[in-house]
Amino acid sequence: MGGFKNLLAHFFKRPVKNWNIENRAFKLLEEQERLKPAVAPRHPTTVEKLDDLIKERPELLELQRQKDESLDSMLKGMIVNPEKVNEVVTKSIGQLPVDRSPIIDDDFGYTEPNKIPQGKCTIRQSMKFIADYHADPKKVTVQRIAKEYSLDTQQLIHILKYFQTLDLHIPDPKSKLGAKSGHKQLGTGGETVKITR
């Protein structure tokens, strides 16, 4: 089948394809020439002036087509050397932090504030007054706590009603649960129980 195709190409296709090829090529070239983008027309007011300039100083037209090497070398001598690039900030500007060392946790797992607003308390303080109150409610009265920590009395009554420090029950360490529970682990894992009373 391939041989037959080649024969067809030899006797029919190629002569047909090449028929009048030269004329057709020239015609195509002319067409392309015609379609080339034309130079934009100059503004009527400048036409005369530009023509005069070209007539008087034709060397200017030539000059603008050539590369000016002297302009290139102008940048080569330039050195960029800003003075403030490696300046180290040692003083804090406003509230920005300067110390980058890792934060070491406090006892209660957060940084305790220096100033405590009225009517507020820290966990450390609340732990203390709750433990103190439940240890001896007659001696450490609500009014006394409220005055000492400048808290709202009504709110303090609610706090002391609903929150208490843990009561400690220790199961017999010989028993199954005692062996399983944490009393042997305490102290070995870095934990501490602070007994306040």
Binding site: G109, S126, T165, D172, S181, V193, K194
Partner: protein, 189 residues
């Protein structure tokens, strides 16, 4: 004399819950907290509420007066169905105090607290043990150990474990309890 502890965990990790049950929570230090508790990054308090209905502005008062203000409060209401009983006005109340909150069933609340605390967020938890936990072999064993060893210490009449009468009555009560629990499990499933 009563002994109270101000529990602090000074290791790097802070407080984590290892397990929870109907009785309370076991912490990573091995201590078991019985009943509802208020947890902070490294300290625990008892929280004197019975169930989700007792959660109110008053019973959450401590969380709103803390300085610095806590980032987020994780409230564990008990089992899943208790969520609907949570008072929606409290959400507005805590929002007005600018405290973020997660109101969750206790099982999820425990996990959320552990996660937030491990990220060193300034988190507080208010958790009520669930009154119902589906039984499997693990927590059955835990409860049995607890009943055998800890509960007797708490009852005045069980101060003399030598007496055979008390032993027998306790064993009977224990058997009844497990029988009752297994039956209720069957009903629920």
């Amino acid at each position: 004399m009563k002994t109270t502890v101000n529990f602090l965990n000074t290791s790097d990790v802070g407080i984590f819950f290892e397990t929870y049950s109907q009785l309370g929570f076991r912490l990573n230090s091995g201590l078991m907290v019985i009943g509802p508790c208020a947890v902070f990054p490294r300290s625990v308090l008892h929280w004197n509420v019975r169930n989700v209905d007792d959660i109110s502005e008053e019973s959450l008062s401590l969380f709103t007066i803390l300085e610095p203000k806590i980032d987020i409060l994780v409230i564990g209401v008990g089992e899943h169905k208790c969520l609907s009983r949570f008072n929606p006005k409290l959400i507005q109340h805590l929002r007005s105090k600018r405290i973020g909150m997660e109101i969750l069933p206790t099982d999820q609340a425990v996990a959320t607290f552990n996660f937030l605390n491990s990220e060193k967020r300034y988190v507080a938890g208010a958790l009520i043990p669930p009154s119902y936990i589906p039984v499997d072999d693990d927590n059955l064993e835990e409860d049995e150990l607890y009943l055998d060893n800890t509960v007797p210490d708490m009852f005045e009449e069980y101060k003399n474990p030598g007496s055979a009468e008390v032993e027998a009555s306790f064993k009977k009560a224990k058997d009844q309890f497990f029988k009752w629990r297994k039956e209720t499990e069957k009903d629920k499933h």
